[in-house]
């Protein structure tokens, strides 16, 4: 189908479009230069156009979440797809997939309608404990990691616990300190894996990282609870690191955390093979300064390498994104949030497009996403936003886009979801040639045979290698 979108204003940092009025031409799911004779013309005059939103960090398929859902405490996959689509999002990235839960996570993700998906592979460092102790294994690990990423159809490597710690004293020799771990991974070459995603915690900011440029720090907001940590993040950003913000909405939220960080009501715990269980709880983070610093960081926009996130559902559920956008965009919308003074800067639509489209797509390595240039995936969101939009209306406008086109198909038409059966894709990072042999050492403690750990197509949507 050939679709033409007329008269809208485009916000696309990747192509230096800051509200320019341009027509968009879509053919075969791709944005093209132009054509005559559209099958469908969409009048977008007076509306803002952005690429489809890309969520770099949202727990939508984490192992254990289904049990929460069974208690009716979390969205169904259908609700997830629909809510995201109405917000103008077309891609969600699951940040917590372990080797053994890879099939599970992909199967769960592929049950979410509309959205393209991807996932970070959380490497359990215990599986590599003998390797990461010394830099002499660096080359071997550099070779193995891309294989295991490709095999589990992940898009990146995430380190959740940057250390190996056994509770039992007798395994003390197996432990690896955070310092050692970080220095090991700092040394990894960018060719083998462009960016290592770090789960951020206050403890991580207590460590020194020699070469922060190779890291992406996820939901930093959760971990900045004092000025010192704040300065550290600025320093890392200066050194070339990227971050996603981990903003808060200060409501009761479902948290997925270690046992120490639970708040309020606890629902259950899952042993994922890390040094501590993962606990699901629901409550409000109020005692610490983190929410304030998170917004301070966001509003001072210290670097163009920041992405939007809330560590959904932990700091804020993805459903609250529109509210948070409206806080970022208008000081008056956030006036009563904190006792302390926040910077009074305000995000433009271009800034919003940068932190919700361009940067997340960049972090995930999705070259054809997050922008509106020719050749890009035709994932396009059209919002009823223009100069006349009042600050108080912003939230509603972001919550309820006027149109959403996903891979060239109309999903939302005039604020209504008209089709949720569009083609879905699973994006992952591949390697050539794919020889599994060296990676087998990482799976010796699995109950699965290696070939069954590697994710088969039955669990994914249409696979796209990046």
């Amino acid at each position: 189908m050939k679709i033409k979108i007329e008269g809208g204003r485009l916000y696309d940092p990747g192509n230096n479009l800051d509200g320019e009025e341009r027509d968009i031409f879509i053919e075969d799911g791709i944005i093209v230069e132009g054509f005559s004779g559209a099958d469908k013309t969409i009048d977008a005059s007076g509306k803002a156009i952005m690429a489809g939103g890309v969520d770099v960090h949202s727990h939508v398929a984490t192992y254990g979440l289904n049990l929460i859902r069974g208690m009716n405490r979390f969205y169904s996959p259908r609700e997830i797809g629909h809510i995201y689509a109405k917000m103008g999002y077309t891609h969600v990235n699951e940040p917590f997939m372990t080797q053994v839960t890879a099939n599970y996570v992909h199967h769960e993700l592929s049950s979410i309608p509309i959205l393209d998906t991807s996932a970070f592979l959380v490497l359990n460092l215990r599986d590599a404990e003998t390797k990461i102790k010394s830099a002499k294994h660096l080359e071997e690990v550099e070779k193995i990691i891309p294989i295991i990423i490709a095999g589990t159809k992940a898009i990146g490597l995430k380190i959740y616990e940057p250390f190996v710690k056994y509770a039992e004293r007798k395994y003390i020799l197996r432990n690896v300190t955070a310092k050692k771990t970080l220095s090991f991974f700092s040394g990894m070459s960018r060719e083998s894996i462009p960016r290592i995603i770090m789960h951020t915690s206050p403890e991580l900011f207590g460590e020194e990282i020699e070469n922060p440029g190779g890291f992406h720090f996820s939901h930093v907001g959760s971990a900045i609870n004092n000025e010192e940590a704040y300065q550290k993040v600025l320093h890392y950003l200066n050194a070339g690191a990227t971050v996603d913000l981990g903003l808060f909405d200060l409501e009761q939220n479902l948290r997925i955390s270690n046992p120490k960080q639970t708040v309020g009501e606890v629902f259950g715990r899952v042993d994922m093979g890390l040094s501590e269980d993962i606990v699901f709880s629901k409550g409000k983070v109020s005692e610490n300064e983190a929410p304030f610093f998170a917004f301070k960081l966001a509003l001072s926009q210290p670097s163009s390498h920041i992405s939007f996130s809330t560590d959904s559902p932990a700091n804020a559920s993805f459903e609250a994104y529109p509210k948070i956008f409206s806080w970022l965009m208008k000081a008056e919308n956030r006036a009563n949030l904190f006792d302390k003074e926040l910077p009074d800067s305000e995000y433009s639509l271009l800034d919003i497009a940068r932190i919700t489209r361009h940067n997340p797509a960049y972090i995930l390595g999705l070259k054809n996403k997050g922008h509106l240039g020719v050749g890009a995936e035709a994932d396009i969101a059209i919002y009823d936003i223009n100069e006349d939009t009042k600050p108080s209306e912003l939230e509603a406008c972001f919550k309820d886009c006027a149109w959403l086109i996903k891979s060239g198909c109309i999903v939302v038409e005039d604020h209504r979801i008209v089709n949720d059966q569009v083609e879905k894709k699973t994006y992952y990072r591949g390697v050539e040639p794919l020889d599994y042999e060296p990676a087998k050492i990482l799976t010796s403690y699995s109950t699965f045979r290696f070939e069954n750990l590697m994710v088969d197509e039955v669990f994914t949507a249409k696979e796209v290698k990046v």
């Binding site: 099939n103 994922m272 093979g273 045979r449 088969d456």
Partner: protein, 432 residues
């Protein structure tokens, strides 16, 4: 005569879903097979459970019942099945714990479309387990972590040697794990059951309980944990005290429970207490609890229900806002049901007679590879390929992790998934 070797095939027999089965196929027959247990091999050889030399009779042609059962073709059988289901006010879709995930999904959609009831086999026990999480939280782990860490394994109301033969060797007691390098020497086993069995030999403690007193034993254990008075308990209190003492001393315990808890006494009460006990234990040390499924994809149907309806209970689409059911089993309403679609199960064998007597009165559409007691009663019978051997699929292991089921043999029969799909399509067309 060429042999084909299929390595790392998943055994579609019990909830263990062992994924290390190596099958040699010659002329479309399993010639030899490695690592599979005796229960699993019966499945691969199409023989009776645990008796690999007695063939099970396969249904060869679709059948419909007039005065007698007569062979027919799929087309006719489907029309007849669709007529039965269409004409029903409240059909029951039942079974499905031995089907692949996609087949289960289509069956759920059929139930939705017909405004019927959807109940997986064994729902009563499972529903109680999920419901009990509300009060007592969940404590789960992939089986790898249990094997890596657990130093105490408790089997309650199940005999893994019969229901899930390789569970002991693969996931719980005997394998070496990351922090249990000496395997079974680093762990202890407790078994609680009504009758002495093989588990006695390998358990450090075997607690034999009176039929129907499981929940009382659990209560007594909780009392002991809280230091309360247990004088009024009449059974083997010495063993219980000893067990409780060890349960608090271990660093990581794992409890597996089975159908035994539903067969005797009150399933709901048993599970509630067991979960409460686990919660209590988690105040002192680390414990996880998982059900031991004897059907290979019970876990899948639960995952499906949760994904689709946010509720693991059997689904009742007959009421408005369907599916927000809070009953543990809809079979209580069996007298209202006026037709049934049974997939891969034999309710005339597995249900108590007061329930199956009600089924006798209504037309049944059956999808099953084998002759069973239910084939004797069904109005329409569809033979199918055996999922995981003759047809591909996806199944969930007891810890909720999915595996791909492979196809190692060609079959002249369609899969249950495709028959269900066909029925769904026809309903969709004729019954919009």
């Amino acid at each position: 005569m060429s042999e084909i070797l299929y390595e790392s095939v998943v055994c579609p027999s019990c909830g263990c879903l062992c994924d290390d089965i190596d099958v040699v196929v010659e002329e479309n027959r399993v010639k030899s097979i490695r690592n599979v247990c005796e229960w699993g091999i019966s499945k691969f050889l199409f023989t009776k459970k645990f008796t690999p030399n007695v063939k099970r009779g396969r249904v060869e042609k679709p059948m419909i019942r007039g005065k007698t059962l007569t062979e027919t073709d799929y087309e006719t059988a489907i029309s007849r099945a669709v007529d039965i289901l269409k004409g029903s006010k409240k059909p029951l879709i039942y079974g499905l714990t031995n089907s692949g995930y996609n087949a289960q999904k289509i069956a759920l959609n059929i139930a939705r479309r017909l405004k019927g009831l959807f109940e997986p086999r064994g729902a009563a026990l499972l529903s109680s387990y999920y419901a009990a999480m509300g009060d007592s939280n969940f404590y789960v782990a992939p089986l790898e972590e249990i094997r890596n860490n657990a130093d105490l394994i408790i089997y309650w109301g199940c005999n893994p040697i019969h229901s899930t033969p390789r569970h002991l060797a693969r996931y719980s007691v005997y394998p070496r794990g990351r922090c249990k390098e000496r395997g079974s020497q680093d762990r202890a086993v407790f078994t609680v059951d009504v009758a002495e069995n093989e588990m006695g030999k390998l358990s450090r403690r075997f607690l034999q309980v009176e039929r129907g007193t499981d929940s009382l034993v659990m209560e007594t254990m909780m009392k002991l944990l809280r230091g309360e008075n247990v004088e009024d308990y009449k059974g083997d209190i010495a063993t219980i005290e000893n067990m409780v003492r060890q349960m608090t001393k271990v660093s990581y315990g794992a409890i597996f429970f089975g159908l035994g808890l539903s067969a005797r006494g009150n399933a709901v009460k048993n599970i509630e207490n067991l979960m409460a006990l686990v919660k209590e234990l988690n105040g002192k040390t680390r414990f996880v609890i998982l059900p031991l499924y004897d059907d290979f994809n019970t876990s899948g149907v639960i995952q499906l229900l949760i994904r689709e309806l946010k509720n693991p209970m059997p689904a009742d689409f007959s009421v408005d806002h369907g599916a927000k059911n809070s009953k543990y089993s809809l079979l209580e309403n069996l007298h209202e049901v006026d037709a049934a679609l049974v997939v891969g199960d034999d309710p005339f064998w597995s249900l108590p007679s007061e329930k199956s007597d009600l089924l006798k009165e209504i037309p049944i559409v059956l999808i099953d590879p084998y002759w069973t007691r239910t084939t004797n009663k069904a109005q329409v019978i569809f033979p199918t390929a055996v999922t995981g051997i003759e047809a591909e699929g996806v199944a969930y292991r007891m810890d909720g992790l999915p595996l791909k089921l492979k196809k190692v043999l060609e079959s002249e029969y369609p899969s249950d998934e495709s028959i269900l799909g066909e029925i769904y399509q026809r309903l969709h067309k004729e019954f919009p």
